[in-house]
């Protein structure tokens, strides 16, 4: 739940990037950090373990301006994708306002995507939230691998696997190249802030 400070007229919005391990969640945030450096005053925080994997989470805060007289502070988080870190994922999901599910387009990761999305649904339920009515955007990452001859899933297959019931906005993307990274972020911010508008009136 977004925190609204009526004295400072400030809203803090929490957006979490979720998805299977090595799917590119951290790469999304790194790209955003680089691309929008001028507008981001604080350093990106990242807690990594040996071998460059996310242990705890990454955290990137920035201001997106004013809506209805309130300044909006967006806080982007990632979760650790590895299966064994579920307790940490639940911790990061606490108080989430909007979600980006970063799926891995690699053929080999088909099953992992489905399992991770199911895990997200279950974890949200522990906070009495439903995946069907929280602001959500899907990102089909690593589209660039096709150019290297690595077999990837078609967007249709990913849509059928992950989005047939959710019907969430989705973007094919390449976090490494930056394709559709900003578009994904803008979409989730628009959806999340839109869901708060009523509260700010």
């Amino acid at each position: 739940m977004a925190l609204i400070n009526p004295k400072k007229k400030e809203v803090q919005v929490k957006i979490v990037y979720y998805g299977p391990g090595r799917g590119g969640k951290t790469t999304n945030l790194e790209y955003i950090n680089k691309k929008f450096k001028k507008r981001i005053q604080n350093e990106m925080v990242t807690v990594k373990t040996y071998g460059d994997r996310t242990l705890f989470f990454d955290f990137l805060p920035f201001d997106i301006g004013e809506i209805k007289g309130h300044s909006i502070k967006v806080q982007l988080y990632t979760v650790p994708g590895q299966v064994k870190y579920n307790a940490t994922r639940r911790l990061v999901l606490r108080g989430v306002d909007g979600l980006v599910f970063v799926a891995d387009s690699m053929d080999l990761r088909r099953e992992m995507n489905i399992r991770s999305l199911q895990n997200l649904k279950e974890n949200l339920e522990t906070f009495n939230k439903s995946i069907f009515n929280i602001p959500l955007v899907l990102q089909y990452n690593k589209r660039d691998l096709e150019d290297e001859g690595i077999p990837i899933l078609s967007v249709d297959t990913l849509e059928r696997d992950l989005n047939s019931r959710l019907k969430a906005p989705s973007f094919p993307a390449s976090a490494v190249k930056g394709d559709n990274v900003a578009a994904t972020m803008k979409k989730i911010i628009a959806l999340t802030v839109g869901s708060l508008r009523k509260k700010l009136e």
């Binding site: 803090q12 350093e43 307790a87 108080g95 009495n128």
Partner: protein
């Protein structure tokens, strides 16, 4: 369970006054009242420090969650008080109510014992407000 505590302007002002009187006037560098989602509710500083409070709050929420999980393993529900000591600056965490934490950053001119006393006092006064 997802907690939400909403504060009105008057509550925030009263909390700021309490933290100013009990802690900032004592010589503490900065105090942050935050929720366990990592949101900053109130932040006061004595003017001598400019910490990145949003990142601090995000990490503190994660840290508190991790330490609570450790507590569970040894059969405790939680550790309601944490203290990290540095050479110059230290951080003290204390639970206010279920979803709220009070973070205090202070230097070696402030004694830990006295700080703990004052934190307890401030928490009692804040609890009475919520």
């Amino acid at each position: 369970m997802d907690f939400t505590i909403e504060f009105d302007k008057q509550q925030i002002e009263s909390i700021e006054n309490i933290l100013q009187e009990e802690l900032i006037d004592l010589g503490v560098q900065s105090v942050i009242l935050m929720d366990l989602a990592g949101n900053v509710i109130v932040n006061l500083e004595n003017g001598g420090a400019s910490h990145d409070v949003y990142s601090l709050a995000a990490l503190a929420a994660g840290n508190y969650g991790a330490v609570s999980a450790m507590a569970n393993i040894i059969g405790e529900q939680e550790f309601s008080l944490l203290f990290h000591k540095g050479a110059e600056e230290s951080i003290h965490f204390s639970k206010v109510v279920d979803d709220l934490l009070l973070l205090t950053i202070f230097n070696k001119n402030v004694s830990l014992g006295f700080l703990r006393l004052k934190v307890t006092e401030a928490i009692k006064r804040i609890q009475a407000l919520i």
